[in-house]
Each structure stands twice: as structure tokens, then as C-alpha cells.
């Protein structure tokens, strides 16, 4: 059990965190999360626009417009 983890742990140490590849992984993760944020931002804007244009067509005065 202990030897098993040993073989797992040491190569990771040398390969992943020693050689700077973890920087690449961290960078990619950051880019993904920022991309997700931008995408959500655009989605929200678009939904709000659609909502406004839909409200103009409905007769009922802005029901459920809060929240």
C-alpha cells in the first residue's frame, strides 16, 4: 500500500510540479473560468434584452419583472 503510493507520488512530483507543467494547467483553468464568466455575462445581457423586447409585446404590465 505504502509502496504503491510511493510510485504514484514521486513521478508526479518530478513531472507535473517540478517541470512547470502545473503552471500550464493552472493557466488553462484560469482561462476556462474567465471564459465561463464572459460567456455568462453575455448570456445575461442577451436574456435581459429579449426580456425587454418580450415585455413590449405583452399587455400585462411587467408582471414577474422583479427578482
Amino acid at each position: 500500500m505504502m509502496l504503491n503510493t510511493l510510485f504514484q507520488a514521486n513521478p508526479i512530483e518530478g513531472f507535473f510540479f517540478g517541470s512547470g507543467k502545473s503552471m500550464v494547467v493552472g493557466g488553462v483553468a484560469v482561462i476556462i473560468i474567465v471564459g465561463l464568466g464572459l460567456w455568462m455575462w453575455r448570456m445575461e445581457k442577451r436574456i435581459q434584452q429579449l426580456d425587454e423586447s418580450a415585455s413590449q409585446h405583452t399587455d400585462s404590465p411587467n408582471e414577474s419583472a422583479e427578482a
Binding site: 510511493l6 445575461e44 409585446h57
Partner: protein, 356 residues
Amino acid sequence: MHMIQRSWKIGGIALLAYVFWTTFTVPLGPGLLELRNLERAAVVDGLDRKVAAYELIGLGTHWATRPEDLSVVLRKKENLTSLPVVEVIDDTHAVIGLAIPDTLPSRSWDVLINHPVDGTLFLQNGLFLNGVSVDETATWPALTLTEFPADLPHHFPFQPRIFETIRNLMLHVPMWFTMFLLMGIAFVASIRQLSQTSGGSSLFDLRAEASVQVGMVFGVLGLLTGSLWARYTWGAWWVDDPQLNGALVTVLVYAGYLILRGSVEDERLKARLSAVYNLFAFVILMILLMVLPRFTESLHPGKGGNPGFNSYDLDSSLRAVFYPAVLGWMLLGTWMYRIRLQATQLNQKLHRLNDQ
């Protein structure tokens, strides 16, 4: 008002960017992996007999710098004895001579090392000796051991068996916190839905639906990250454990909630029935994840039974990332919930337009 709305969303993303970057780039601190019997004898200076040679293996240690300052100590309660270092092979490997008396107070020993760079490191029950005579009254002259911290830049603490996967703490735990927050929002929305006088709108029902949907995403992510972690530290994708069972049942219960919503046509009846079921679900969630695990033994950290790691010994390096992670994921979850809610409301509005 507009500024605030904008800033918490940007703040959440910025926090998560910081969290991801530090999670993957902060190095892991040094630690001890194993004290292994080399099955050969070693000659130790100043000792006329040969002793068994053991290999001490570290992870991320720096023994090659100032090897003469590496000291190894065995400990059992108050009994301490120093072991001679025969040879430092490289940063993470050293040969130790097992120069100990024939009669020992115990068979299993904790191994400690002191090194100016790595500080004091500790390997619980690192040495187990077969074929020695045990006399529990045997004592040794007390040796003073001064423990000191590592002289290294910012790093995550080394935990046995967890090693580098300690980074998963920043992903796995906040998922559950965020799910709790979202299910809490749904719970409050359901209460407000039920306490409306009859003929009220189904606004709160939509809120509950949106937050359960987003909460389910976080719950499933929590299960997945937890499963990966369990595979690494416990050796199986799934273990029979109160905490894990509770998590799975919670996800199933909320899946039931979403199915219930799908099977009722009438809007008002749907709002009422699903609110009732949601209150049931949240109480079950509380029982399963907050109450039940405290009464049964568990492998899961923070609940006892696991020697390696528990959530109460988060050290400052972990906290500096963990708290922002929790806050960041919660902000992201809330934002997702709001977008989801707006989308459902828009959908409803468009349906109504279509009907006209």
C-alpha cells in the same frame, strides 16, 4: 446599484481565477513517505557493531543541502532516541542506521526528522520492528527535541496519503457549500411560496426550481470530485460511508423533485406540490449531511476516524485559498441561479406570448 451588481460578478470570477492559479501552482511542502528496511547492515561511526540499514524516503525534501544537519529521531510517547544518519543519497533519500538497544518499550515507533530547510517532519507509526523483546517499563534518558517550521516559501502542508491531491480541497468542499447555499435559497423560496395566500403568483416556485437545478449541478460536481479523491486516498471510487451515502441520497432526492415538477401539468398545483416536497427534501438533506454523520463513525475528514487529515487543521496556507474558493464558488453559483431564473421567466413570458 449598477456598480454593485457588476462588481460582485466580476469579483466572483476574479476570486475563482486566483483560486485556480494558486491551487495548481503553490508547491506542496516536504514530508516523509517511508522508512524502508534495506535488508543489509551498515557501519556507523563510533559504534563497534554493525546495525540494520534503513532507507528514509521523503517527498519534496531538501536533504542534499546541509546534509550534516539532518537528524532522525524515533519517538514513542515520551521515549525518544536519536538514530545516526549513515549517508544522505540525495534530496529525498538517506540511509539510516538502526542503532537501538535490544529491549524496547514498544514495537511501533513514530519517526521524526529535523532539518534546517524542511523543519520538523513526522511519520506516524513509520517503524515497526519484528523480533525485538518488548518491555514496556524500559525507558531511555529523555532527549529534548526542538520542533521548528520549514524555512521554505509559501506551500501547502504535506498530508500522508493525500499528497498533491490536497489541492482538491479547493474544488470538492466548496461544491457542497455552494449546494447548501442554493438548496437553502430553494427552501426559503418554497416556504414563501406556501405562505402566500391562495391565488398568488408562482414567482417563488420558479426561484426554487432554478436554485435546485443549479444546486444539482454543484451536487453532481461534488460527487465527481469526491469520487476522484476517494479513488486516490482510499483506493476505491466509492466507499460505504455515512457522509457519502448522505450525499448520494441528497442528489437522488432532488432529482425526485425535478421529476415531480415534470409530471404535474397544472401550474398552481405544481407550485404547491413541489414546494411541499422541497421542504421534505431540505429537512432530509440536513438530517443526512449534518446530523447522521456525527452519530456514526466515518472515514470522511472532519468526522473522526481518519488520522491523516481533518478539516479542523486547515493551516494558514490552505485557508488563504480555501476561503476565497468558498466565496468564489458561492458567488458563481448565485450568479448561475439568477441567470437560470431569468431564462425560465423569459421562457414563460414567450409561452404566454405564443398563446395569445
